[in-house]
Every structure is written in C-alpha cells, then in structure tokens.
C-alpha cells in the first residue's frame, strides 16, 4: 500500500500521506492515515464519508493549500473518488 504520489509534479503535489493525515485529523477517524487506500473510494463502500465530511475536508484543504473547491469544478464526485484523485486535484489547482 504505497503512499508515494505517482504524479510527476513533486514540487506542488502534496503527499498522499499528508492529505490522509489531514483527513483523519479533521474527521477524527478511527484509523491511521496509512490505512486509507489511496485508490479506494472516499464515499460509500470505501471510507464511507458523506457530504458533511466532504465540507470539513474542503475547509482544511482551503486552509492548508489555499485551494477553493467548487461543486461545479467538473465533478465533485470525481475529485473525491479517491485520496489520489483528491491529491491530483489539489496539485492541479496549486499549479494553475
């Protein structure tokens, strides 16, 4: 279970471990950050997060990385489809 980003923009991509740690602490989850599978869904049958959690995560991400999430940014569901897609999204917004 690797937590090394696969993207090729290491300067701007926050590490998966870093974002996982933010999520675990923001939501007070009963798990270690390393237990979040980077490719599993954050919703439903994966991590089981709901919209309340997503808003909390969006808040810590805006504080930490200065990235504002918008629901009409393509697709909310896609951004939060996995830890990796969330990290990629943050990186793309920071780079922009």
């Amino acid at each position: 279970m690797s937590t090394t980003p696969t993207g090729n923009t290491p300067d701007t991509t926050p590490s998966l471990a870093e974002i996982a740690a933010l999520i675990v602490s923001a939501l007070n989850l009963e798990m270690a950050p390393s237990e979040i599978d980077p490719d599993a869904s954050l919703f439903g049958e994966g991590l089981g997060l709901d919209s309340i959690d997503i808003l909390e995560i969006a808040l810590v991400i805006s504080k930490q990385y200065g990235v504002q999430l918008r629901a009409d940014d393509e697709n909310n569901t896609r951004i939060f489809s996995s830890l990796r897609s969330l990290a990629d999204y943050i990186a793309s917004q920071k780079a922009a």
Partner: protein, 445 residues
C-alpha cells in the same frame, strides 16, 4: 382562518419573479407554463417522489403534482429500505428526476425540456385548501415510520407566516439545504409560492459556491442555511456579497456563531424552530434573545405528556418532542431534545429505530446506538454504536446498515465487543457505553 381555496402562487403579476436560474429570473408566466406542461406529461401514478436536484425543477414538479391532484412524497432518506416501504404504501409511486435515478428502484420520469411560453397570460390555478398535497415522514420512538399528511391550506398558511416574520417578500433566497427536506421545502420552495420570495435554483455546497450563488441573484437577498454550513462558510473566510438576512435551522446555533455571522455579514440572523410534524412554528433573533416567538396563529399547550402545538397551519394537535418552558402565550424557551431523538445534518430519526435496524442485520446478536458527548457547537455530532457480531467485520456490518439507514447515522466509532455492558436490569448505563469508546482524537490501532 383558512380559505376554501388558495391560488397556486400569490405572486401578483405574470412578470413577478418566482425563482432564479443561472440563465436569469423565472417569471410567474414562465413558471405556470412549465407547470402546465409538466402536469400534462406526468405518468398516471398518483404519488410522486420528486428528487429533482434543481430547486426550480423541484418547485415545478411539486406544483405540477398539485394541479394534477397528485401527492408529493418527501422522505428524509432514499435508502433501498425506504423506497421499498414507500412502494408498499403507495404502489403507484413514480420518481421525477432531472439527472438520473441512481439506484432508486421505481419507474422514473425525466424532467422535460421547457416548452415555449404562450403569448397570452395564464390563469393561476385555485387549489382546494383541504387537498392533501404532500406526505412527510418521521420515525417515531417505537421505530416505526409515520406518515404525516400535509394539506395545501396548511402549507400556504405556514409559508405566509414565515414570510411575514422574516420580511422575506421581494428577496432572492439562496439555500444550502435541499428542497426535499422539510426546512428547505418550507423556507425556499413554499415561500416562493406564497410569501413573495424567489429561490435560487442551485444548492451551493462549498463556501466558494455559496458566494457565487449569492452573487448570481440581485439584492435584497438572503441565505437559508444550517449551523454546520454557516460555520464552515465563516471559517473559510470567504468574501461574500451583501446579504439582507440569514436564516438557520435544523440544529441549535451557538451564540458565538450567531454573533460572528451577524458581524461578518452585517445582517440579522434568524433561527427557525419546527419539526416535520408541525412545520415551522417559531423564530428568534439569536443574538438578541434565547426566547422563541410563535409564528402566526400557532399555539402551545401543556399536557400531562409534554407540550402540544395546535392552531395556525398545524394539522390537528401535535406533540412537541422537545422540553418546553412557556414564557407567555406567544413565547417559550427550549430545554433540550427528547433523549431518544437524533438529529444529524437536519436528518432526524430515533435511537429506537436505529437499534431496531441494527438488530435486524443477520449476524448481529446484540447492539446499541448512542450519542457520544456533544461535539463543540456547530459541528456535526456522529453517533456511536457497540455491537456483538462475531461473524461480521466493520466493513460488512457498515455495508449491511447502509441499506437500512441514512449514511448520516452510520456509527463512528463502531465498537465490537464480546457482550454489551448491561446491568442487572438489562439496561445499558450511558457511562458504561462511553467507557467502551476509544480515546478521542486517537487512531484505533
């Protein structure tokens, strides 16, 4: 007093604005055109599950159901179990949607494209006051689902009383709450039909979305939201267009957040108190007073088993599930919820219902839901559960629960134990349950 009929909307002129879409204002004329068009296309069933994401599509769907003598169903969740139950009660149910049905096991009907509007003015339909136009649902303390039937006259009086209290006439309303939920239904949908407001079609989610939605409608404008959405909005330090009032409901708002919201937005913040059974019955300006003032002609009365609400738009005599202290005939204080009721993110259920669902999962030998210590103000509190289920993993049990209860109520933490800490009377003392929880803020392992 109720009139024998009320018009579909009290918007006074064909050009009156009843809603806002990204493309601009929606006039009463456009709205009536869309309602008549949709009503002529709806399939035969007499009951509609309206899951339209656009608040405007929801509004048209609700109105089209009314003018065609159909009943709109507003369940608080759409779990497979809920859908099965609704189908059993109302077999002619179909689902009106403006995206996709997801996994809702019902005949679907897609919201149609807008027809051209006729040149001539359309009459505003008159609707009998006693006609039942909506079913809303609660889970009672026994765990069984209860259906509450809402009449057109009751909903109209409800909306007018709220609009008058808020001074909402002429305001554009941006809501962060869904139109299908009782609070959003009353404070964005009904108030646009009766009360002279005009709801924004979208349902902004992130702080930046809320700012964009407010900027998309003209002043005077208002934000219809919850303590949770309001806190994340203010914490994000998002720059906002001017707002003329803020409305919050679904959970008590802290005095600190109320004061912060008023100071940042330079606008009054009002809280609304109500329930699915009664509709909205009181409001307060949270920075000025903790006392609630009843809406319209609603009255409270003490009985042997707690307070009841009656009069105004309240249908019959309805027990209040909170502990009430009357100040005078029009004012009261709230002293906490009935301990069995749970309200998370505006979704309400009872511990009895949740326990029943937990025990019904195959392989669960014993189990109980309970509330942890309350979270700090304006954060969403999550439920905990302890279970005896040797054949289950955390994953498999949550999966089974997901088909039965709304995701907002899934336990976090979910603690597996060999047996529950029942005392001699077979009761579960709260302190013993709390002792089973992992220390806050630490990972389980």
């Amino acid at each position: 007093m109720r009139h024998p009929t009320y018009p579909l909307t009290d918007q006074p002129a064909p050009a009156s604005i009843i809603a806002w879409q990204p493309s601009g204002p929606v006039t009463r004329h456009r709205f009536l055109t869309d309602v008549a068009h949709l009503a002529s296309l709806l399939p035969p069933g007499g009951h509609v599950l309206n899951i339209c994401q656009s608040r405007y599509h929801f509004l048209v769907g609700f109105a089209a159901a009314i003018v065609s003598s159909r009943i709109s169903l507003l369940p608080s969740t759409l779990t497979p179990d809920t859908i099965r139950r609704l189908k059993a009660d109302t077999p002619d149910l179909f689902c009106l949607h403006d995206g996709n049905l997801d996994d809702i096991d019902l005949p679907g009907f897609a919201y149609p494209d807008a027809p051209p509007a006729p040149e001539h003015d359309l009459p505003v339909p008159e609707i009998p006051s006693e006609r039942i136009v909506a079913h809303v649902f609660t889970s009672g303390s026994t765990g069984t689902a209860l259906t509450h039937r809402k009449t057109w006259g009751g909903l109209v009086i409800n909306a007018l009383a709220e609009a008058e209290r808020l001074g909402a006439r002429g305001h554009a309303l941006v809501g962060t709450v869904p139109p299908q939920h009782m609070y959003g239904f009353e404070s964005t949908v009904l108030i646009s039909l009766h009360g002279g407001a005009a709801a924004w079609a979208g349902r902004p989610f992130y702080p930046a979305d809320i700012a964009d939605a407010l900027a998309a409608v003209p002043a005077p404008r208002a934000l219809i939201t919850t303590p949770f959405h309001l806190r994340t909005l203010l914490d994000a330090e998002q720059a906002l267009p001017s707002v003329d009032f803020l409305l919050s409901a679904t959970a008590p708002l802290s005095e600190e957040l109320a004061a912060r919201a008023e100071s940042i937005c330079a606008a009054p913040l009002l809280e609304i108190y109500g329930s699915t059974e009664t509709g909205q019955i009181a409001s307060r300006r949270s920075t000025a007073t903790r006392t609630w003032e009843l809406l319209g002609e609603v009255r409270l009365r003490a009985t042997d088993s707690g307070h009841v609400a009656e009069g105004g738009h309240v249908e019959g005599i309805v027990p209040i599930n909170d502990v009430i202290e009357e100040v005078d005939a029009r004012h009261f204080l709230l002293h906490g919820r009935n301990a069995d009721l749970v309200n998370i993110a505006g979704k309400r259920t009872s511990l009895a219902f949740l326990n029943q669902q937990l025990l019904a999962v195959p392989g669960v030998q014993d189990g109980v839901f309970f509330m942890p210590e309350a979270e700090p103000d304006d954060h969403a509190t999550r439920l905990c559960a302890c279970v005896v289920a040797p054949g289950h993993t955390r994953q498999s049990l949550l999966q089974a629960l997901r088909g039965r209860v709304d995701a907002a109520f899934l336990p976090r933490p979910l603690v597996f134990v060999e047996r529950l800490p029942r005392n001699e009377a077979s009761k579960l003392p709260r302190a013993s349950l709390l002792a089973l929880l992992p220390p806050a803020g630490k990972a389980a392992e």
